[in-house]
């Protein structure tokens, strides 16, 4: 309603109201610009999620009897705890791998000339724009029985039989490391490129080795970027359905596969809803814990 009144109000922002009143009116009007998006989100995001929560409180796949049976069934089964645990563990392993491999690359980035920085950034961002499906496919080619790794190892004589790399957690973590790497590197580089180069020089001048400088100066200061990267990688790898099914097969079961089977194969939506809400809660819990730790460590540093 206030939109129309504002539209016909001759004393708009360029009118003769006192500036604070003008300011207040402007605020109000500006705020309304977010209305369309809010409506879209209410109808297309909030409502579906609420309905999903509601669906989980039904006992049968025809969604007729309300009750807690689906929750009881899901959490009465120790297998599902294992799946949740494995899913979170997969996320943590991927986070560790991306940190170990990605962090040094971010360090090197800082030392490069602006021109090379641009090239490296391009290399890092490029796979991000490439479909996850394509990246996953690439790893089938690399890890397959007749793939690059096996052919190379056979040729070198290091193995006599091809190794099984697909359908193993190792293979999956390796693939996810590459697939999720940009999510780790971008926030890291973003924070690190704002670090004052003098800090490192000062540390070196004080006689600290580069290792010492790394762990006492650079790592603590880059903590916000590191934490952000970890969060993104964790969230993305725990829900990477395509990579998990194509590279992991059915031998490795994670929550997304369970959700997919329950919803689109068995069509038990209440149970699928319970599984997917468990995914949300467990992933968000870990994320909250990680960011709490991240905040604490940076407060500790500055405090």
């Amino acid at each position: 309603m206030s939109i129309t009144t504002a539209a016909h109000d001759p004393s708009g922002p360029s009118g003769h109201l006192p500036s604070f009143a003008r300011e207040a009116r402007l605020r109000l009007a500006e705020w309304q610009l977010a209305l369309p998006l809010s409506l879209a989100f209410a109808a297309l995001f909030l409502a579906p999620l609420l309905l999903l929560v509601a669906t989980s409180f039904f006992n049968d796949d025809k969604i007729t009897q309300p009750g807690f049976a689906s929750w009881a069934k899901f959490f009465g089964d120790p297998f599902n705890y294992k799946v949740i645990f494995d899913t979170l563990l997969l996320g943590l392993k991927t986070v560790c791998a991306t940190v170990v491999v990605g962090y040094p690359l971010a360090l090197v980035y800082m030392d490069l000339s602006p021109r090379l920085q641009k090239v490296l950034l391009f290399i890092i961002v490029m796979p991000m724009l490439l479909s996850v499906v394509v990246r996953t496919f690439a790893w089938i080619v690399v890890l397959g029985r007749e793939g690059v790794v096996n052919q190379t190892l056979l040729w070198l004589g290091l193995i006599s039989e091809p190794l099984r790399l697909l359908q193993t957690e190792l293979g999956l973590v390796i693939s996810l490391t590459q697939i999720e790497m940009p999510l780790m590197l971008l926030p890291l580089i973003s924070v690190m490129s704002r670090l004052d180069p003098n800090l490192r020089d000062a540390s070196a001048a004080l006689g600290a080795s580069r290792w010492r400088t790394l762990f006492t100066v650079i790592v603590p200061l880059s903590m916000p970027g590191l934490v952000a990267g970890c969060l993104l990688v964790f969230a993305s790898s725990t829900t990477a359905f395509i990579s998990q099914t194509v590279i992991g097969g059915v031998r490795l079961i994670y929550l997304p596969l369970l959700i997919w089977q329950q919803s689109l194969v068995v069509y038990n939506w209440p149970l699928a809803a319970v599984a997917s809400l468990s995914l949300v809660v467990s992933v968000l819990t870990v994320i909250a814990a990680l960011s709490y730790l991240g905040r604490r460590s940076s407060r500790h540093l500055h405090g």
Partner: protein
């Protein structure tokens, strides 16, 4: 002491440099290998590829043999273009409304709009499926556009808000103190200045939509499947080298698009910041 120091520093360079080179290899090599495989003459994904031919690309571009792939690609483009377009309008409006609003409600709203980025995509996909079928909709491209809008819009909102926050408020104030109306300021000052931010966000949103699996997985059917869903199906069943050819096309397209975005709006810089 000095020797010890230089030894330490040497080990630093070796370890850090070594891992960094490994990282670049890990990032780049799968892409290069997938590209190489797509030119194989053979029928399997054996490495090294046997011979060199465009055979799989010919199959891929054959309008009858690969009709469904083409249609899936068309669906992907349509969904991505429209969801991005709507996303740009809604997100830019919202960013203008919220970016410089310090009220607590505005922060809450901002976080709310960003939440699809953290929420597991598969959960939202399932929720959307349950919601739309409860409302009685059949799977269609429109539903997919609605779903993609939610999960890709945050990219636009983020870059647009970032460019707005870098605007010098003095600039806007001076424009207004010179008597320019709010709308005039918006059109002549604000929008041109934040345009690169919007464009970068739109590009990211577009690519995220093209790439989206979790939402499409739940909202598509035979008529409306998108390219990633189709490729997933091919990877799960026949695993023929056409998948590599599609990958090749997508790699080339992403490369070209990225060069363009880099030249025009400085994409990588924006993603870094």
């Amino acid at each position: 002491m000095g020797r010890r120091q230089s030894f330490l520093d040497l080990s630093y360079s070796l370890v850090i440099g070594g891992i960094a080179i490994l990282a670049v290899l890990i990032i780049v090599s799968p892409v290069v290998i997938a590209l190489m495989i797509s030119f194989t003459e053979g029928r399997s994904l054996k490495f090294p590829p046997t011979g060199f031919s465009f055979g799989w690309y010919e199959q891929l571009f054959d309008p009858t043999k690969s009709r469904q792939i083409h249609r899936a690609a068309g669906n992907s483009l349509e969904v991505a273009a429209l969801s991005t377009l709507i996303g740009v309008v809604l997100a830019t409006l919202a960013a203008l409304g919220l970016a410089r609003n310090r009220a607590r409600a505005a922060r809450v709203a901002d976080n709310f709009f960003m939440s699809p980025l953290v929420l597991p995509g598969i959960t939202f996909g399932l929720a959307a499926l349950v919601y739309f079928s409860t409302l009685g909709f059949r799977p269609s491209l429109n539903l997919m556009i609605a779903g993609h809008l939610i999960v890709t819009m945050p990219f636009i909102l983020r870059t647009t808000t970032a460019s707005l926050s870098q605007l010098d408020p003095a600039l806007l104030d001076s424009s207004q103190s010179l008597g320019a109306s709010w709308f005039y300021t918006l059109r002549r000052v604000t929008l041109p200045l934040i345009f690169p931010g919007i464009a970068a966000g739109a590009f990211l949103a577009f690519m995220a939509s093209i790439d989206n699996v979790p939402v499409s997985l739940f909202l598509s059917n035979a008529r409306t499947d998108t390219l990633p869903i189709r490729m997933w199906g091919m990877m799960e069943s026949t695993l023929d080298v056409r998948v590599a050819a599609v990958s090749g096309v997508l790699i080339a397209a992403a490369f070209v698009l990225m060069l363009i975005m880099e030249w025009t709006v400085g994409l990588t810089r924006r993603m870094r910041d």
